[in-house]
């Protein structure tokens, strides 16, 4: 890596001083809280007040909360919830890829003069509140809402269906609806950056359009698919509000619901923190992958 061209006569350590307040902020309010989760998970529960007590010294950490969590994952209800979370996230992510790829492809290659308009419409859901977008679906999926009315009018349903009570398909629909913009946009950025001449070269050398897609476009957009998938899976694994709003039933409880329930009840603080640690360990692979992908993309970007 080349050194940055310097401003003449800059005082030593000046730039580190510029960064210091922000770095300090992130240490105090990001690093310390993450450590606090560990400290509470490996801590004790106050026997009198029944409140979780953190153990700050790593040498005195107690792993019994984890033993309980893993026992429950292997034998009890938590295992079912964890498995359900993985299945929901897998199905929702697959749907995001299947729907999102053609949309991103259209935006990057085929939209023509409609491209600016299309991109604005594509970005709009980013800035519409997630809960508001779920509220929109609650209105539509209500027993006398538009979805039931249309399905009854088309004779697909014979009687109104209660979509909002314990239905996995509703929760998965909500997750796809909520997170798919976060998949499409990075993929669009990657597809849009593919050099048109590469595709022309492939066609000139005799490849059919389908072959060009499979052998050129798809491999070149692979990074975008993976990065987009990582980006949507991260919040999906921690989601607790989508099932709560769209179903509110124990039949669709996800890992995140379990964490939220434990943490909001004082006595479950230790178990809640232990579950959060398990979640962090689980998603850290995705996080690392995404950060490495970002670093690689910015290096290749030539900055």
């Amino acid at each position: 890596m080349k050194g940055r061209p310097r401003v003449v006569g800059e005082p030593r350590g000046l730039w580190a001083a510029f960064a210091a307040p922000g770095v300090l902020w992130l240490i105090l309010l990001f690093v310390v809280p993450v450590y606090a989760i560990l400290a509470v998970a490996m801590g004790t529960t106050d026997p009198i007040f029944f409140i979780a007590k953190p153990t700050w010294d790593p040498l005195r950490w107690d792993t019994s909360a984890f033993r309980e969590v893993f026992h429950d994952i292997l034998t009890g209800r938590l295992g079912v919830i964890g498995l359900r979370t993985i299945v929901y996230v897998a199905v929702a992510s697959t749907l995001c890829i299947l729907i999102g790829y053609p949309v991103a492809y259209y935006a990057a290659r085929r939209a023509g003069h409609l491209k600016p308009l299309f991109i604005v419409l594509l970005v709009a859901p980013f800035w519409i509140n997630y809960i508001m977008r779920m509220l929109a679906w609650v209105n539509l999926l209500d027993t006398d809402g538009y979805v039931n009315r249309v399905l009854l009018a088309l004779h697909i349903l014979q009687e109104p269906r209660a979509w909002l009570v314990g239905r996995p398909e509703t929760v998965i629909l909500g997750m796809v609806y909520g997170y798919i913009p976060f998949f499409i946009l990075p993929l669009f950025a990657v597809l849009d950056a593919i050099d048109q001449r590469v595709l022309e070269a492939s066609r000139d050398l005799g490849a059919s359009p389908a072959r060009t897609f499979v052998r050129v476009t798809l491999p070149l957009s692979w990074q975008g698919i993976l990065a987009g998938t990582a980006l949507i899976m991260l919040p999906m694994f921690g989601d607790y509000y989508t099932p709560e709003i769209l179903s509110g039933s124990p039949k669709t409880t996800l890992f995140g619901n379990q964490i939220a329930a434990f943490v909001s009840s004082g006595a479950g603080g230790t178990a809640g923190a232990a579950l959060t640690v398990v979640l962090m360990a689980f998603v850290s692979v995705l996080m690392t992958y995404y950060l490495v992908a970002v670093a690689r993309a910015s290096r290749e970007g030539g900055r």
Binding site: R4, P5, R6, V7, G9, E10, G13, A16, F18, G22, V23, L26, L29, F30, P33, V34, A36, P54, I99, V103, Y105, Y106, A107, R109, R110, V123, P125, F126, W127, I128, N129, I131, R133, L135, A136, N139, D142, D144, Y146, R149, L164, Y177, A189, S208, P209, G224, G228, L234, G238, Y241, E244, G248, V263, A273, T276, L279, M280, V294, A295, R303
Partner: protein
């Protein structure tokens, strides 16, 4: 004799073959999927906003246009219902405070991180990016535990919520400002100093004005992500006074759905879309004024790199 059905059968067959040979090319399938997706993503929210103007209580039978749920209903409208009004104020309060704290911190951090070459700069860069990829529930739990067990003087409620909001909006400000900074380089400051400016006045009178559009965009984005937040606000809330709009929607959507909730959600939608549109214009404006062209005009979390 060629009957019409044979002819359509033939074209259908040809179309199928063309689709097979070029699934993404000439077929109309891709545009159809793309525009159906847009309709699917926009129409539900549009209907929800529409029904905030419904004069009746129904969320599925349209009865005409009214501002009942915004201003005219004496008890249930956003203007007159204390809990709705308080939620609006709390959301705005948090967004303003977050914007005012996160932006200066973020600008300094962006300048520091792009120019600092020392040992700590790489870990600091990673640290800056981490809140962007951490599931919000993890940050929510962590901050909740810290404020209830370690930083005791900070009470749950507004102050804890502001501290949390600044933490997750800080990296976004940094990303926006840094994109602009990378396009500027030290040449302008060097030129100013060649012409006799002191080090600090070059920084103050050259670099900062050149960064102005990005700083402004950073303000708007910090505002927008704060007003949009649900998870951190909920984990750090304490009592009625710290309920924000998304929290109120979350609590009321299943138990007491009225068009007033839609009205409140619509107000929030207009505010955050306005903030983002202004940010987009600021970044576009800089394109004509200075270097750094080619940066995305509409900022979004997906422009973090990939």
């Amino acid at each position: 004799m060629t009957s019409p059905s044979v002819a359509t059968g033939f074209t259908f067959h040809r179309r199928l073959r063309r689709l097979w040979a070029d699934p993404l090319g000439e077929s109309r399938l891709i545009p159809a999927i793309a525009w159906l997706y847009i309709i699917w993503s926009i129409v539900p929210v549009f209907i929800a906003v529409l029904f905030s103007f419904n004069p009746g209580r129904s969320l599925s039978a349209w009865q005409g246009f009214s501002l009942r749920w915004y201003v005219s209903d004496p008890n249930l409208s956003v203007l007159h219902n204390p809990s709705l009004r308080e939620a609006l104020f709390q959301s705005l309060r948090l967004a303003f405070l977050t914007m005012l704290i996160a932006t200066p911190l973020g600008v300094l951090l962006a300048i520091g991180l792009t120019r600092w070459q020392g040992k700590g700069s790489r870990p600091a860069n990673v640290l800056m990016l981490l809140p962007l990829v951490t599931p919000e529930i993890v940050m929510g739990v962590g901050l909740f535990l810290v404020f209830t067990s370690l930083f005791r003087p900070v009470q749950l409620g507004t102050s804890a919520q502001v501290l949390g909001h600044v933490t997750f909006s800080l990296p976004l400000v940094v990303v926006i400002v840094r994109a602009r900074l990378l396009g500027i380089g030290p040449e302008y400051e060097n030129a100013a100093m060649d012409l006799g400016a002191s080090y600090w006045s070059a920084l103050w009178r050259i670099l900062l004005p050149m960064l102005a559009p990005a700083i402004f965009a950073g303000l708007m984005i910090a505002f927008a992500v704060s007003i949009d937040d649900f998870v951190i606000s909920q984990f750090l809330a304490s009592g009625q006074s710290s309920v924000t709009i998304p929290m109120l929607l979350y609590g009321g959507v299943r138990t007491s759905p009225t068009p007033a909730l839609n009205a409140l959600g619509s107000i929030m939608l207009f505010i955050s879309l306005l903030a983002v549109a202004v940010a987009g214009l600021a970044l576009r404006w800089r394109r004509h004024v200075g270097p750094g062209a080619g940066q995305p005009a509409i900022p979004s979390p997906a422009h973090l790199g990939v």
